[in-house]
């Protein structure tokens, strides 16, 4: 049946969606194989639901193409797409009973009916499913979702979990090419959710339909998917199998979002050697010597051992019992490490730790400073990235005797007016910019869009109105989405004439 069809059931090419000048999804490229279980995973507002809605046809992409079996469906209205959706809040029709809800799509469907005419020739004509066929299909769908005999019930007599099953039955009864699921388990309690996860997975195997699943729950994604698409800020961060996503995160965001991890600053010091926490560890990722890296170590990959018997000694700072394991926070000098272990430890005790080379994952991160294009103003300040900051103009020339506004006087007496001059601006990430909750205090205002804990400090990305990102380290914890102003000490700003 699938012989003449492409291997990829659906392809999204360079998809971009813009709302009111803001890009909700950008640069989205994805190929989904027939029968795959693909999950879009990301925090709320990352664009995963928007992408799903574009596949369903509720939204049209601003740019890019969606192809289904090789045909461009980008502009096709939803009712013409062989794709069905399970909605987050079920969206069952309240005026119809369960049977009519499930049969809704079947009654609308036109199928090819082949029959023999009186001359014995086969004729094909378009027609509807018969009542009997519909009835059979509905009861089969109800059997799949384990709600046999519910046909006559009305929607409002059902529990949330049952309504969700009906919503699934209503979608799969149409035998769609692709089933889209928009956080379908979000409204269920934990126990029900776990059950439904297993059921959905086995349903997927039984039906052989391609599933595209949207969730913000990383555990759900890891449990169910063949392929995970991690999204943040409307962009794909990583595409991979659950194992790849978990074990080989491509950047610090993915490492931080998927599972728990220790993310630390490190530096490659030799062939398969990396230095962090003032200690050199063996690792398996190969980078040139001197490369700055983010080191990702999963809490379960750190082994505890008696003092002086491990690779380094640490001091136990806190212990929390989590049921299956203990979560132990230790201090390696100033840097915090989180360990998960079935062994207990005592607060204040000094212990040794060991990390196997394959438990250390390195992500190249040579970004040490923020770099922008700026312009000198007539007040002698520099404007860049939606902000205006005081700076030291004397660094632009040798032998400067005085600076007055934008005018500098060189020691030989020549004056130069730098008003409007373009410069390259840079300032360090570590110990560079600071944040303030007083919007007027700093030179630029933005929202914290990401924060990652790095053992002894947090790394923040503050995004301004026109989407300039300031990267800065801070020891204190700020909240995501907080609006902050950026303060950069005058002496930290480096200017170079262009």
């Amino acid at each position: 049946m699938f012989n003449n069809k492409t291997e990829n059931i659906i392809e999204l090419k360079n998809i971009k969606k813009v709302y009111d000048d803001v890009a909700a999804v950008e640069d989205f490229n994805l190929e989904v194989k027939r029968g795959e279980f693909v999950t879009f995973l990301g925090p709320s507002g990352c664009g995963k639901t928007t992408t799903l809605r574009m596949i369903a046809g509720f939204e049209l992409p601003t740019e890019g193409h969606i192809t289904l079996d090789g045909d461009d469906i980008s502009k096709l209205p939803p009712y013409k797409r062989p794709i069905n959706t399970v909605f987050q809040r079920y969206a069952l029709f309240p005026h119809l009973n369960i049977f009519d809800n499930i049969a809704f799509g079947l009654k609308l469907k036109t199928i090819d009916i082949t029959s023999k005419d009186k001359n014995g020739n086969t004729v094909t004509k378009k027609g509807k499913l018969t009542k009997k066929q519909i009835k059979e299909k509905v009861s089969r769908a109800l059997k799949i979702v384990d709600l046999e005999g519910f046909e006559k019930r009305s929607v409002d007599t059902l529990s949330g979990g049952q309504q969700q099953r009906i919503a699934i039955a209503r979608a799969i009864v149409n035998e769609p090419e692709i089933l889209l699921l928009d956080e379908p388990l979000g409204a269920l309690d934990l126990k029900m959710r776990k059950e439904m996860q297993i059921e959905l997975k086995s349903m997927h195997e039984k039906l052989g339909i391609t599933f595209i699943y949207v969730t913000h729950d990383q555990e759900e994604a890891l449990t169910m998917s063949d392929k995970i698409v991690v999204m943040s800020d409307g962009m794909i961060q990583q595409i991979g199998t659950p194992e790849e996503i978990y074990n080989e995160p491509q950047n610090a965001f993915v490492a931080d979002f998927i599972g728990e991890s220790n993310i630390l600053n490190g530096k490659v010091t030799g062939n398969l050697k990396v230095k962090f926490c003032d200690h050199i560890f063996d690792c398996v990722d190969k980078f040139p010597i001197g490369t700055r890296v983010d080191v990702v170590v999963r809490p379960e990959d750190i082994m505890m051992c008696p003092k002086d018997r491990g690779m380094m000694n640490v001091v136990v700072d806190s212990v929390v019992f989590k049921g299956i394991h203990y979560e132990i926070t230790v201090l390696a000098g100033e840097i915090e490490l989180v360990i998960q272990s079935i062994k207990n430890a005592h607060v204040g005790e000094t212990i040794g730790i060991e990390i196997e080379p394959d438990g250390i994952h390195l992500i190249e991160n040579n970004l040490v400073s923020n770099e922008f294009d700026g312009v000198i103003t007539k007040h002698g300040t520099v404007e860049f990235a939606d902000g205006e900051f005081e700076c030291d103009l004397s660094q632009l020339y040798d032998k400067v005797s005085s600076v007055e506004g934008s005018v500098i006087t060189l020691s030989d007496g020549t004056e130069k007016d730098l008003d409007g001059v373009e410069v390259a601006v840079s300032f360090p990430i570590a110990d560079g910019a600071q944040m303030s909750d007083d919007a007027d205090e700093g030179g630029a205002v933005g929202n914290i869009i990401s924060l990652i804990y790095k053992g002894d400090h947090y790394q923040y990305i503050v995004r301004t109105e026109n989407e300039f990102d300031y990267v800065l380290d801070d020891e204190d914890l700020w909240n995501e989405n907080d609006t902050v102003s950026i303060i950069i000490p005058k002496e930290k700003i480096k200017l170079i004439l262009k």
Binding site: Y79, H95, L108, S154, D156, R170
Partner: protein
């Protein structure tokens, strides 16, 4: 100190009901079943149903009410629908414009319509029936728009998306989802238009329509100091209205649970 129980708090309302609802009703019933001398009789009742004039008036009233209601729905539904689905930020202002005539004195409004129609037609006497319908429709349109708008606005857009997702074209989605879910609004609108139109004889008077409707019939009996026949017609109307309300409520419960204005 006096302590009020919750039951005692109901007393003012009970008194109000007694004086202004129950007592007048009893008086009406008393008059309906007595003759001019105060003796019990069923003549008023049988008289109504044996007199071709009164039956004719009843049929005419129902006819006017029916036509007005149909016109109101056909005008109000598209307006309410467009307002409900539009993404306009100022749509409450637009809605207010449609509903605002409700705030202007009824007689004044009808007089205004009458003047406009006179200006167009020259003499209102040529089209009494048409003018009555125009007057009635103008008068009752807001009462149809408002409940329809409220019901349509409350319909979850996810349901419309679900319908499209399952293969229904926009037209099919309208007839299979939007329309059935707006039935409560239609019923509220009908109750607020159909029944008042049956008795609203002011519009007919103003439009020089000399045909009687139920309201004018009661008015003419009362004007002739015939309290008994007037009361009986009121009682009959009351019963008709009661039956219609009962039927629509049943319909309402069958068609859709939820959104009732």
């Amino acid at each position: 100190m006096l302590k009020f129980s919750r039951k005692q708090l109901c007393i003012p309302y009970a008194v109000f009901l007694l004086i202004f609802v129950i007592a007048p009703l009893l008086v009406v019933i008393y008059y309906a079943f007595t003759n001019g001398q105060g003796n019990f009789t069923l003549e008023n009742f049988t008289g109504f149903f044996t007199d071709t004039n009164t039956i004719g008036t009843l049929v005419y009233s129902i006819f006017i009410a029916l036509v007005t209601t149909v016109i109101c729905i056909s005008i109000a539904y598209p307006i309410a629908y467009i307002l409900a689905v539009s993404k306009l930020k100022k749509k409450s202002v637009l809605l207010m414009l449609f509903v605002m005539p409700m705030w202007i004195n009824f007689t004044l409004r009808i007089t205004a319509v009458k003047e406009v129609l006179t200006a167009i037609q020259g003499n209102l006497a040529f089209h009494p029936f048409l003018n009555t319908l125009i007057g009635m429709t103008y008068d009752f349109l807001p009462f149809m728009i408002l409940p329809l708008y409220t019901t349509l606005e409350k319909i979850d857009t996810k349901l419309l998306e679900a319908s499209a997702d399952l293969g229904a074209s926009p037209a099919k989605t309208f007839f299979k989802i939007t329309l059935p879910l707006s039935v409560p609004g239609i019923i509220s609108g009908v109750t607020m238009v159909f029944l008042p139109v049956m008795t609203n004889y002011v519009v007919l008077d103003m439009m020089y329509n000399s045909t009687y409707i139920m309201g004018s019939l009661i008015g003419s009996y009362f004007a002739a100091y015939d309290w008994n026949n007037g009361s009986m017609i009121s009682i009959i109307l009351l019963i008709i209205i009661f039956i219609i309300t009962l039927v629509t409520n049943r319909l309402n419960n069958d068609e859709s649970r939820g959104a009732v204005v």
